[in-house]
């Protein structure tokens, strides 16, 4: 074999590392297994019709959820590998270069391919149902958003086994990430994967912004919206305003790498610090993009499981909107040590501290909602209650970091690592898991098992503190981030050992969570009522899982907590009836089992206008994947057809006339009758 071929193969297939061979083998085996199962059970048509071409927000939400959990697993494995390497000084588990790749992919995957799809899963599952809509404003765009995210994520994940992972950190600062210091396709994978999935995120932001403002059921004024919808509105505004900065930064860096431009080089008039600036113009709003929906979920969960309306609704809304504005004015606190003037650092330090105020308001509102409520400690509530102390500690250390002079001590130390994991895990992951447990019956029609859920929660929650509390200390003792080994005489050994034990405990918590899902698919309590938690918002007025048109009749909203008010009104009606003879039947009607029966509605059904499914979002995203792959390796023979495919897909859509259809009344009647709601 000629040397050039051998050389190409060595780099293309990343030869020489046993861990990568393991990944190769597992990827091939899993792919073969999926292909075999789909073929053996003749599921290809089903996969295409029901999932790949769907524009139904509920199914897209489920796909986002599955992708987020898979990416959570991948990012979690990365974390476990890192903690194993750091368990004791002088470990020979990972080579230094491999360690760099793993912390890079861990960060990138957890933020962009775990947290983002997880919040989008919740957006899709809950928002249209909560505002009484039949789908999002732009269902076709919604499908594009999902597939763009999916293929972006695939592109980044494949880099591990083909071509080599990016290894310049999840922030990918030049000049390290520039063409001179990051040779090979790794950084290109990072740039193009983020760019492709970023288009999807932007689409989702626009989609939900319009959906919430334009498609609310009659009577649902903004101030009657569930708080989760408010948080999604806030996050959507941030997505629309923040993502362009990332797009610009990544595009310019890509030009530097592929086209030899000099935006972020040291010479020829470039300035790498401009990349850092632009990255965090997006990066700081990004943490609020992922945490605000979590806040929204906590608001829903706390109100439902305390059986009280949210304390201080208006102040919750005000604080969300304040955070939207403020989060845009704090980005420089990520690089206080870059050398900006004292005026800059003071301004951004102050702005960062001020953002603690609206956040604090929210924490107190959750506590006051629970105060004297009838609290039920279900799985979603456990994650919510677990979140509060977590976030208070994370917030307090955040204020410490926000102080620019002291930040010179904390910067890039494990203190920082512990802080942002505490707010991102304690805030976002806890929030998303609370939301997952909360809306699971609405998605799949069965509950998740509470016993497994409690075990998973306690392993994860205790593991979290065991893992990250030592990191605060070891950070104050001087340990910096992104090191793969450390001297044995610094007094860091025990703390690192404890931290690794905590990471493994969190891993056990995650495994228990997955086992809960698997167990509950077979044995979980079926949700026949559609309202298993005695909920307050409109999604619980529907059967579980909701029919594909959601609402047979669009509800008219008269107050906040619309579904709760409807139930109250019905209870009121029934009390009057109970004075007459039919007491027995009234009791039955009041019990949870038959609650939906009383939803029998007057008024004739009308045909429902729905969007048509389309395979084009999938095809378009495949073209983007081919285009991206071609650019990663600078194979223009591959990139150009991919690009032409993109153009063709867009053009084909422009000339498409029939994009929707009407569901006839008979079909609605049949579906509703099957749910016992006619």
């Amino acid at each position: 074999m000629p040397a050039s071929v051998t050389n190409f193969a060595t780099h293309f297939f990343v030869l020489g590392d046993p861990l990568i061979y393991g990944a190769d083998a597992s990827i091939v085996l899993v792919t073969l297994a999926i292909l075999f199962v789909l073929t053996y059970f003749k599921k290809w048509g089903w996969l295409w019709r029901e999932w790949l071409t769907t524009v139904d927000h509920k199914k897209i939400g489920i796909m986002y959820l599955i992708a987020a959990l898979l990416m959570f697993f991948r990012g979690g494995v990365d974390a476990i590998l890192m903690r194993t390497q750091l368990v004791w000084p002088g470990m020979h588990f990972l080579q230094s270069e491999h360690y760099n790749e793993i912390f890079t992919t861990h960060g990138t995957i957890m933020i962009l391919f775990m947290a983002m799809p997880f919040i989008f899963a919740m957006f899709n599952i809950a928002v249209p149902l909560q505002i009484g809509a039949r789908d999002v404003a732009f269902p076709y765009l919604n499908a594009i958003s999902f597939w763009m995210f999916f293929f972006g994520a695939m592109l980044l994940n494949l880099s591990f086994v083909i071509g080599g992972s990016p290894d310049a950190g999840w922030v990918s600062y030049p000049p390290l990430a520039g063409p001179e210091y990051s040779i090979g396709p790794g950084e290109n994978f990072y740039l193009l994967a983020l760019q492709i999935s970023g288009i999807g995120s932007m689409g989702t932001g626009i989609n939900f912004f319009v959906t919430i403002l334009k498609m609310r059921a009659p009577g649902m004024t903004l101030m009657r919206m569930p708080l989760f919808c408010w948080s999604v509105l806030a996050a959507s505004i941030l997505i629309i305003l923040a993502f362009p900065a990332l797009t610009a930064a990544l595009a310019l860096l890509l030009f530097d790498r592929l086209a030899g431009s000099h935006f972020f080089t040291m010479l020829a008039g470039g300035n790498p610090m401009m990349y850092i600036n632009l990255f965090w113009v997006w990066g700081h709003p990004e943490v609020y993009i992922v945490v605000l929906p979590a806040f929204g979920i906590f608001s829903e969960v706390v109100a439902t499981f305390s059986r009280k309306r949210t304390f201080g609704y208006a102040s919750m809304v005000a604080s969300l909107m304040t955070i939207v504005v403020l989060s845009y004015l704090v980005w420089a606190h990520h690089f206080f040590t870059m050398g900006a003037g004292p005026g800059v650092n003071s301004f951004f330090a102050l702005a960062s501290m001020i953002i603690g105020i609206p956040t604090g308001v929210k924490v107190f509102n959750w506590l006051f909602t629970m105060y004297r409520g009838r609290i039920r400690m279900t799985a979603p509530m456990l994650w919510t209650v677990g979140f509060i102390p977590n976030f208070v500690i994370g917030g307090a250390t955040g204020v410490m970091l926000a102080s620019a002079p002291t930040d010179y001590q904390y910067h890039n130390s494990y203190f920082l690592i512990a802080h942002f994991h505490q707010v991102l895990i304690g805030g976002v992951v806890y929030g998303m898991l609370a939301g997952m447990y909360y809306w699971w019956p609405k998605m799949f029609g069965h509950m998740l098992n509470e016993r497994w859920a409690r075990h998973a929660f306690w392993w994860f929650n205790i593991g979290f503190y065991v893992c990250f509390m030592p990191q605060y200390l070891v950070g104050l003792m001087g340990m910096t981030r992104r090191i793969y080994d450390y001297p044995g005489d610094m007094g860091w050994n025990t703390l690192n050992l404890v931290s690794t034990i905590g990471a493994y405990m969190m891993g056990i918590g995650f495994i228990l969570l997955v086992l809960d899902v698997v167990y509950s698919i077979f044995y979980g309590e079926r949700d026949k009522t559609g309202d298993p938690w005695d909920g307050r918002t409109l999604e619980w007025s529907l059967p579980s899982p909701a029919p594909h048109y959601n609402f047979a009749r669009i509800p008219i909203v008269t107050a906040r907590d619309a579904w709760w008010i409807m139930k109250e009104a019905r209870r009121g009606d029934l009390t009057d009836v109970s004075t007459t003879e039919g007491v027995e039947s009234v009791r039955v009607t009041q019990s949870k089992q038959t609650a939906p029966q009383s939803l029998k509605q007057s008024g004739p059904l009308q045909p429902i206008h729905m969007p048509k499914d389309s395979g084009r979002p999938f095809v378009l995203s495949v073209c983007f994947f081919i285009f991206g792959w071609g650019l990663v390796f600078q194979w223009y023979w591959m990139a150009i057809p991919g690009f032409l495919g993109i153009l063709a897909s867009l053009l084909a859509r422009s000339f498409e006339k029939e994009t929707s259809y009407h569901i006839p009344v008979e079909e609605i009647e049949k579906t509703e009758a099957a749910y016992g709601r006619l």
Partner: protein, 120 residues
Amino acid sequence: MVYCKEMTKLSTAEDRVRHPEPSHHQHGVGVPIIGFILSIVLTLISLWAVMNKVTTNAGLVTLIMLLAVVQIAIQLFFFMHVTESKGKPWHVWLLGLGFAMTAAVVAGSIWIMTFGAEAY
């Protein structure tokens, strides 16, 4: 309890979002095409100016930024129909917020990238 009986009315409310009245019914297909040509011309002018170095570096930067502002206006008026609205003009709110935040980012970035020059 209370459900809307006037479904026809509602489905048009949904239709309006899902199928916004195609603007070329009002203006003809000409408006977007004019916008498209204008935006290409603007791009070509900036490319030409930079490739031929028609003026000093500072002058080029100023020119490109000016052209970018014009480009924004073209996008807003020719493609995004910023003057048209049915119902509440939410887009004006978001546009205002967008301009405020863009101003904050531009001013903030310039301030940051002076690297303390103001203090000395």
